[in-house]
């Protein structure tokens, strides 16, 4: 009788211990996931260039800031980058011509390292104004459509009107 009760008690303790350990393991993994979600850093390229097909034009002058970071001035042909952490962000654009301010919220996919925001597209309301950007893909596209090797550099992409001529926009 006593032995059976003891065995039952031991079994209960074992089950409870197992449950507590399982719960701790879940909490451990959840904290890891939370750290990835809240801590993952992304590079946002802020682009102010004309469309290759002429569907939109670069903005003459503007001030752009992401979240609470310091704002930067952009003129036609400019491209700069901002580092952000986490997924949800706000971009604030102040256009010099009409002194209007546009504020938009956007989400960066968790595993995307680099995104490009085309501010002229955003201002013109053309979707998608935010797209994933892969350096390797850009180089590949530039090599496929650009002038012979040796004359093309990745840096020159930004200086050539329309970027890599005839190159399709980077695929997501």
């Amino acid at each position: 009788m006593n032995g059976t009760a003891n065995a039952k008690g031991a079994s209960n303790t074992k089950t409870r211990r197992l449950l507590i350990r399982g719960a701790l393991l879940i909490v451990y993994v959840l904290i890891m996931v939370l750290m990835i979600y809240s801590g993952r850093r992304h590079t946002i390229l802020i682009d102010n260039k004309d469309a290759a097909d002429g569907s939109y034009r670069a903005i003459n002058g503007m001030e752009v800031s992401i979240d609470k970071q310091e704002s930067s001035e952009y003129y036609p042909g400019d491209r700069d980058k901002a580092l952000v952490q986490g997924q949800k962000h706000t971009i604030k654009i102040n256009i010099f011509d009409d002194n209007s301010t546009i504020e938009k919220t956007f989400t960066v996919p968790l595993w995307s390292d680099m995104m490009i925001i085309s501010v002229p597209k955003l201002v013109a309301g053309i979707e998608p104004w935010i797209e994933p950007f892969t350096v390797a893909e850009q180089i590949e596209e530039a090599q496929e459509s650009g002038p012979p090797a040796g004359e093309m550099s990745f840096q020159s992409l930004g200086d050539v009107p329309g970027g890599a001529e005839g190159a399709p926009p980077p695929s997501p």
């Binding site: 750290m35 850093r41 952490q85």
Partner: protein, 381 residues
């Protein structure tokens, strides 16, 4: 006890500290550094190193000597940081992530270290030192080959151009000083990384609390005499393993704190000197192989690093070469460890001789029986 004998005992007990204070003070004028600069450097280095040095306390309480095996924890912390950089996790979240990755690895390595040390009782220090070399080989294999080939690494910037293995130096820009900069106090022209010091203070509170727990008391009992502790029903081997596991885990966290302050990671050799400098620091602070306290940690870090700050410039001024100061730094580190071990062995022998003498004296005249028979659990080497 005569005044002369008291002075001799005091000197032998604090010989390392006294010698170090004298050398450091003597090196300050030729270095030409301002006191303010030296103090700021000491504050920075206190935040950077104290956690690592505190990791040495528990094994000393458990009678396992200076845990050179803490290097294992440092390697686990580095693996955690490599993954944090690979996944692009920045700021303090990156540090927490690195800790969460490093934690199970350090527990496992600490457990292995504890098992090995239980088979090498009385020779824990040299065993830990050699074990660190052995695990270093596995670490090199893991980082140089496994990462990028077996374990995919998404961040190509940290992978060697051949496609696998991690680059020699890793830029920890994403987590650089992220703990220090959460709250950086500016007091009287000094920058004090408040959160780092809070973390260190919490560890000190943990150590004080832990010493009062049943496990902490068991550790001290094991440290004093394993046979007596065993007879009293304390699971000696298990207690020793727990001490080493806790030390390894703390070393993992300590290495992460150290590296976030430095801002870059020498992938293949950042951990090499971790144990060596931590051990040197605690010994400089007045600890011995069998006795250490929290105060020893802070005194040691301050003194050792004050020396590290002034010695290259003192070497430059006195000998015309900063390298002399660098060699001096190495020489001091190894010299302190050697001196402490020699003094420890000498004190142990002296205590045993005194005890024998006391016993003979008491046999000759029972009235002379004294209580001077304190002998530690000698044999540590």
């Amino acid at each position: 006890m005569s005044a002369r004998k008291k002075l001799s005992t005091l000197f032998s007990r604090y010989a390392v500290v006294i010698i170090f204070v004298i050398i450091t003070l003597a090196a300050i004028p030729p270095s030409g550094l301002s006191v303010k600069y030296i103090l700021q450097e000491i504050i920075t280095r206190l935040g950077r190193n104290s956690f690592l040095v505190l990791a040495l306390l528990l094994p000393i309480y458990a009678g396992m000597g200076l845990n050179f095996g803490m290097t294992l924890g440092a390697m686990a912390g580095q693996i955690g940081l490599i993954f944090a950089v690979n996944y692009g996790i920045a700021n303090w979240q990156g540090l927490v992530f690195a800790l969460l990755v490093g934690l199970p690895i350090s527990v496992f390595l600490g457990w292995i270290c504890g098992l090995v040390m239980n088979r090498a009782k009385g020779r824990e220090m040299v065993t830990g030192y050699i074990l660190a070399f052995f695990i270093n080989g596995i670490y090199q294999f893991f980082v140089m080959y496994m990462l990028g080939s077996v374990i995919p690494m998404g961040n190509k910037a940290i992978v060697l151009s051949r496609g696998y293995g991690i680059r020699n130096t890793l830029n920890l820009e994403s987590v650089r000083q992220s703990l220090d900069n959460i709250v950086m106090l500016r007091v009287g022209g000094f920058s004090i990384p408040l959160v780092t010091f809070v973390v260190i203070a919490l560890l000190c509170v943990f150590v004080v609390w832990f010493k009062r727990t049943k496990l902490g008391q068991d550790m001290r009992a094991v440290g004093q005499d394993m046979a007596v502790a065993e007879a009293a029903g304390i699971p000696v081997e298990k207690t020793r393993i727990v001490a080493i596991i806790i030390s390894t885990v703390l070393a993992c966290a300590g290495q992460i704190i150290f590296l976030q302050n430095m801002g870059n990671l020498a992938t293949y050799n950042a951990h090499d000197q971790t144990g060596f400098f931590a051990v040197a620091a605690i010994l400089v602070g007045g600890a011995s192989v069998t006795h250490a306290s929290i105060a020893n940690v802070f005194v040691g870090v301050m003194l050792l690093h004050a020396m590290f700050v002034v010695s290259p410039l003192a070497g430059q001024k006195l000998f015309g070469s900063a390298m002399i100061g660098e060699y001096f730094r190495q020489f001091i580190g190894y010299g302190v460890i050697a001196l402490s071990l020699v003094l420890y062995a000498w004190r142990t022998r002296k205590a045993a001789a005194d005890a024998r003498l006391g016993l003979r004296g008491s046999q000759a005249s029972p009235a002379k029986r004294s209580g001077e028979t304190a002998v530690g659990n000698g044999g540590q080497a």
